[in-house]
């Protein structure tokens, strides 16, 4: 498909097919399809699965009915983020976890250490034999209808549809990483090529295009969604990352809870702030120094040029005094400092129709 490939978490991944901005706009205005086969999938089942996951994940998994999913975090004992993931309840006793490619091994190892001998839990790592596509954009429904016909209905936001077919199981998840309506479709690796062709054809017929990792990054950053490795790490808590909404401190004990409670009581040392460049400036990029009141106080975690806004946007951990909306930061780019303003997330809001 004329893609430009880069190695990513052990996979050769397309950065772009036609160009980041064109692909980005396709997703905002019609539809785009991303290869997300690199992502990891764990199936956790058994009579003890719900209790086990509620003990290791931050969100309250008991709130999920079969078919529902939630964004949640896996923490270490100090409250640091091992991974952010989506957990779906596929049946009363079975859960489907979609995790980051770069963290599959770390997540699996951590989950194993959290498992007690008498837990009635089975864990299966389906990552290596699962391929996936994300179909994202206002025309995602049109693509689903064209590809699946009556065989499947469209998965609404934060829901999952599982179907057993002659070719094996397929998972349709109402989620994405772009801020647009859409779904992620996971299928057995052997069936992937045929599905990929079918879906790419349907996306093109709907006026969309295949998209690479570059557009995935600009789309997610416009929404202020964190990327593990850039914005999340084992050294910082979800409270610092602004993800407190996905942490239920009242549900009972879970790994990292004690540290979060203590941090909340003591006050956060810093916070992930969203900033927008205020004048003509090069795009902010990861690791560029960030200054406040003349002093370097941190570095850019994620940063890019927003295709929708036509301005540089980024996120950085800064002390609370610098994190208030409207405060002025400076981003140091090749020795020169360019002003930026702390803004509210998301950076981009869909124009109301």
């Amino acid at each position: 498909m004329g893609a430009r490939m880069v190695p990513f978490a052990g996979w050769d991944m397309p950065v772009q097919y036609t160009g980041i901005v064109d692909e980005h706009k396709a997703v905002r205005q019609s539809v785009g399809v991303f290869d997300i086969s690199h992502m990891g999938q764990f199936i956790v089942s058994g009579a003890g699965a719900e209790a086990f996951l509620n003990r290791v994940l931050t969100n309250n998994i008991t709130k999920l009915q079969p078919g529902q999913g939630q964004y949640t975090l896996l923490l270490n004992g100090l409250g640091g983020v091992i991974d952010d993931l989506i957990a779906y309840r596929t049946s009363e006793r079975e859960f489907y976890l979609v995790v980051n490619a770069s963290r599959i091994d770390a997540d699996w190892a951590h989950l194993e250490t959290q498992l007690n001998k008498d837990d009635e839990v089975l864990m299966a790592n389906a990552s290596d034999f699962t391929a996936g596509l994300a179909i994202q954009g206002p025309k995602a429904r049109e693509v689903a209808a064209a590809v699946f016909g009556d065989a499947a209905s469209f998965p609404e936001h934060n829901t999952i549809l599982v179907s057993m077919t002659g070719e094996g199981p397929m998972w349709l998840c109402g989620t994405g990483y772009t801020g647009e309506e859409g779904f992620e479709f996971f299928m057995p690796m052997e069936t992937a090529e045929a599905w990929f062709r079918k879906i790419v054809d349907a996306v093109k017929a709907a006026g969309g295009m295949p998209c690479g990792l570059g557009a995935r990054d600009t789309l997610r950053l416009e929404m202020g969604y964190p990327l593990n490795g850039n914005d999340l790490s084992e050294q910082r808590t979800p409270l610092q990352a602004g993800l407190g909404f996905f942490v239920d401190l009242d549900k009972g004990d879970f790994t990292g809870r004690e540290a979060l409670v203590a941090q909340k009581a003591a006050g956060l040392p810093d916070k992930l702030a969203a900033f927008r460049m205020t004048g003509a400036a090069p795009p902010p990029r990861p690791h560029y120094p960030v200054a406040f009141a003349g002093e370097i106080i941190g570095e850019v975690c994620s940063g890019t040029q927003s295709p929708s806004l036509g301005a540089g946007i980024g996120m950085a951990y800064v002390p609370l005094s610098a994190a208030t909306i409207g405060s002025t930061l400076e981003i140091e780019i090749r020795g020169r400092r360019f002003p930026a303003e702390v803004v509210k997330k998301p950076f981009y809001r869909k124009p109301s129709v």
């Binding site: 980041i20 901005v21 003509a280 090069p282 795009p283 890019t304 040029q305």
Partner: protein, 126 residues
């Protein structure tokens, strides 16, 4: 296919220079702009700077990455393309005309002959 004009000379790092003009405009090739896509910012060199051949003189930023631009020959930077400040996309749309980046007064014209001609550059990017 990329456009590779006959009248220009090329560096392997995808800059072009027009030896038929004095001072000589410098830009990036059609191939380079297609690889970079979506140029969003040009950090220009300073007028009056003396540079040596192959010296990094400025940076252009696309959505994807920051890329260094090298002087094809030694000389003095005598002008920069002010239009790129307001419209960096000129580099994508008109890489050989409106998208020139700076003009250089070569200090040793023999260096121009050491650069690739269109045929050699065409092979280089094939």
């Amino acid at each position: 296919m990329s456009n590779v004009p006959e009248n220009l000379r090329y560096r392997d790092s995808h800059e072009w220079i027009d030896p038929t003009q004095s001072p000589s405009p410098v830009g990036i090739t059609d191939h380079a702009q297609a690889e970079l896509t979506d140029v969003v910012f040009v950090d220009p060199p300073k007028v009056g700077t003396q540079v040596s051949a192959g010296q990094q003189v400025c940076v252009i930023e696309s959505v994807k990455a920051a890329s260094d631009i090298y002087a094809p020959v030694a000389g003095e930077i005598v002008a920069i393309n002010e239009a790129l400040g307001g419209d960096p996309g000129l580099l994508n749309r008109e890489p050989y005309t409106g998208g020139w980046i700076f003009k250089i007064q070569p200090s040793n014209v023999a260096e121009l002959d050491a650069l690739m001609d269109a045929a050699a550059y065409g092979k280089h990017i094939a």
